[in-house]
Symmetry: D2
Subunit: 337 residues, 4 copies
């Protein structure tokens, strides 16, 4: 067994990492860090995670000396600790945004603070295994993609790479409330959230630069993107509805075929009928579908934002980094209801 540390163990992504790793065949969590609950016990905070009942939370990463560390922290924190972790020989999967953008200037523009560790930006590998898996295998620092980019890129990147779209691409994303995290906000206050659909963050959403960079890297170029996330009153799940003009001659059927071929060997990406989000809940799976609306192909992509959009994808990346089967510990199916 390799040892793992979870940094940010009490947020939603950290808790999901603990849940997923509670039955991993090769990884065992030996350290858990929480700056907000130092000295408390996971058994008190998350009584359902029985395997970690007796794990005490430490307040800082200085003692982390595991084989791998999963960082699930707000922007700006990972870049403070990654250099030391790498120096100590700890492999790192960062679930936050600090190492997703290749350019420190871009990071500063998007996140409003200078990057504290620009020297590792070039080394960090964008951890979308289906599209970038070979690089992940060789990485010691993986930047786990955001939940929205994961859902969107798995659907769109193969089409863009093939030249199957032209003109702008409109991504209308619907996300459950867990995507905004455990931090309290009016938008996520139950009385405000439960009876409505809330478009948000349109003007300056942080995921667009990540999407564009990934499309350029993976698909060679990025079309103009219009990305509008909406909060819907579910807890887990993202559905992206993606609209773009098809290449002349292309149809829903040809797009579907292209995606099916692209993911034929992938254990986690499925191309088929209109997806139900509960198929993906708690899993590392992505369900893609291409339907025809008034003759135009429309793309749907469904994931669990905490699963394939976060914690389980991080574990998939770790599996590749250690040379294990990428499905290790991730094979369980989702709920039907």
């Amino acid at each position: 067994m390799a040892s793992a540390a979870i940094v940010g163990a009490t947020g939603y992504l950290g808790t999901e990492l603990l849940r997923v790793l509670s039955y991993h065949p090769h990884l065992t969590v030996t350290q858990a860090v929480s700056s907000s609950h130092p000295g408390e016990s996971l058994g008190d905070l998350s009584p359902h995670l029985e395997r970690f009942r007796d794990v005490d939370l430490v307040g800082h990463t200085s003692a982390v000396d595991t084989d791998v560390a999963f960082l699930a922290q707000p922007p700006g924190q990972a870049m403070q600790v990654v250099p030391k972790l790498l120096e100590r020989g700890v492999k790192v999967v960062d679930l936050g945004p600090d190492y997703r953008l290749r350019s420190g200037e871009e990071y500063a523009r998007v996140y409003g603070q200078p990057h504290a560790d620009p020297s590792h930006l070039g080394e960090a590998v964008y951890g979308l295994p289906e599209l970038n898996g070979e690089a992940v295998k060789r990485a010691r620092l993986v930047a786990n993609p955001g939940c929205y980019p994961t859902a969107m890129l798995l659907a769109l990147a193969p089409l863009v790479a093939d030249g199957a779209t032209h003109g702008p691409v409109y991504v209308d994303a619907k996300s459950g409330s867990s995507g905004a995290g455990a931090g309290l906000s009016t938008t996520s206050h139950h009385p405000e959230a439960a009876l409505t659909v809330t478009p948000y963050g349109s003007p300056t959403h942080r995921h667009v630069p990540e999407m564009e960079q990934a499309l350029r890297q993976i698909a060679g170029s990025s079309p103009p993107l219009v990305f509008v996330p909406h909060l819907v009153p579910i807890v887990r799940g993202i559905l992206c509805s993606i609209y773009a003009a098809p290449r002349s001659g292309d149809t829903a059927a040809s797009w579907s075929e292209l995606l099916a071929q692209r993911y034929a060997a992938s254990p986690f990406v499925h191309v088929g009928p209109v997806p139900k989000l509960p198929w993906a809940t708690g899993t590392n799976r992505c369900y893609l579908s291409v339907q025809s609306a008034e003759g135009a192909p429309v793309l749907f992509s469904a994931i669990d934002n905490l699963g394939k959009g976060g914690a389980s994808q991080a574990v998939q990346n770790a599996n590749l980094m250690f040379g294990w089967d990428e499905s290790a510990g991730l094979a369980h199916p989702g709920f039907g209801v």
Copy 2:
């Protein structure tokens, strides 16, 4: 007081009509028709509609002789009874689709049955008062728009009329479950609906021909439309997110200004911040907003599908047909939460 009949009084739209008319200053419901509950009492079926406690449901429209009849029936039923109602001098507001399309051939193609009363298709007025109110005032037969077309047209028609968009328009609509009506279906079964977002009906959605016809009539032409409705786990409300390329030089601000001017005199259409659906719940109001996403203007339109998208718009149409203030009985605001 003028007298009103509700035909289809036990469906969601019929019940909403009773609710709205329970405090109308000029209209009083004297007849209620239900083919599914003939002989039953509204007091038993809808105990909260106290004013109608002693109204017994009749099974057919043959005895309807009110000043106005509101028809809230499935496709194919209104066209069987409208000729006789008009003959008897009853004004008609049809909340179903039978008189929305101008062409009997188009109706047959979309609804899969020949039109039984093509002679009145030319006379029927499309009842979107903000865009077609003068014609409504002179009408004796009004085709109340569908809920999706209402939300979409109020946002888009002024822009199309002004030439402010070019190329295809993508309408991503999110609707609460009441929009599908009281009829049971797997899609609306709570365990299937509550944890997901379901795109549906994409290939052959019946509202697109209605939208295109209305745009041609109101705005002079229709752009190519890609319309994808999604079921979201709320009960009342439609949010349309509308994506289109702007005319060169146009911005979110210019679109917003154009809409604000267009609806400056309208008591029911408001242009402002990103809307919350509960503002519209139970009302005849439509909340429009134009936001900027990566520099592109994005349109949002929010209504209550049973209100402005159905029953209260039908009452607004009746108000105009009788020469009353169009706001009569419709002034109450929505819930904040």
Copy 3:
């Protein structure tokens, strides 16, 4: 028209007061106070409350000189301002708890702070009009009941007064999330609230002393009460399920008959079939039902916690204090769905 001030105009109860009063025939809101949003405009905070679009919020009550003031504030604030309001001749309906308990010592024990205005505790009238309406008519200071006591007392008080129960009474209450107010909390965070039912506050719930005092006053005595509120994932509505041993010979039918007689003349309390919460949403209505479970009568009571459990009951009290019809402005029915 009489003039009204809303103090605490931006909380859920304050906003609901504005909504209800936006169509009241005798009351017009001329002042709105918010300590959290002084100087802001209601039009910006609540765009859907159009009638108050141009009302600016003031930060304190010193200028309040309306005919009546509705106080919708956290515990401990009303008692600071009520003496001056009464002195100025302003009638007061306090929606908070400061004047519900008759004893300053009890208040200090329950709310953890001494009462600042004990001299008016004896004068304050407990504003449950169906059970205490004559006193309300003569009051200048009314303590509006809490939402839970309202639902529970309307069901239970007539039975206790008649001796129809014996032994302890168990009240299992289910409340929507708006009952906890607009203040952010982990319990009301959508991801934590949406998929569960949360019993809360069991040990020291503040409403029990209020319930017991009211039962002693209205019904002559109070049985031992076990009261357990649960947060359920809806926004508006309280359903109380009440369990008690019946007097020998009593049945569900005899309890139902007793309640029906008690409320025969009440426009707002209905005794009938198992209620649906949406019947009560946005209204001043209470729906009671007695069902038989394994031979034992079980009581159900349904209200809107912001309506009959708050804002609309406050308006009902004001109607009585001014000598108007108690239904003035409160006649609209709830939603079926």
Copy 4:
């Protein structure tokens, strides 16, 4: 590997059985029966259950010859096939009610039809492993308890057995909508269910005779039970709030201690803080808590109705019947959110 058949494979319990068994270490599903979808493929019906992608559904049980059969059928069907299955040497876990009651007369009274296989009623073992596990180990026919009895008995039976309660016991149960199954009904129609809490089935609920019989068997006697189930707008989960007068001297603390001792060796029943239903979602776990309300102890019991209340408890029973670790394949924790 032992072979398993799922009879009723397309209902919610059948699908959950497939999900749970998709990663069981000792059981492999080789046959799936569905009378409603004969000849169809599980891959089409439940695309997320990838392991069963190529399993075709057969329409009847005549060919079932596995080591164990899980029957997840409506009342009245299992008793038609159990004799033949037993004759063929197939162990049976029946998730329906046919073998829960010991008396054919009682069955006929409760389910409205004579029992077709009364000769096996005496042999069938009530499959609540924590309270009846030794008998399960020796059984070839296990009657899996209902979801409500499971939640209620795990909390109450040890207390009744110890004499820790006196007088009537009130069980106020809140259940998610999956408990009513995949069959369409108005009560489970999303627009009717999503905004309310619905008490149902009070007069003749079928689970009470099962609860009383089990209490007599397990605890020696049954107190008078008043059981009222409520539908709440969640999908998975049951929370039982249980009210009873304590034995003189007993408190919440003493009850909690008694339960903690009783379940000290149980891997699936936990006694601790007020539970969150998502802790139990998708698992075989039961979370118990005793809180104090106005000095009275109140019991809470939380399970997943499809998990410990159905499919995973059936697997736990099978584990015992085959002599395996009772936790085999059931160790995964629930979701935090």
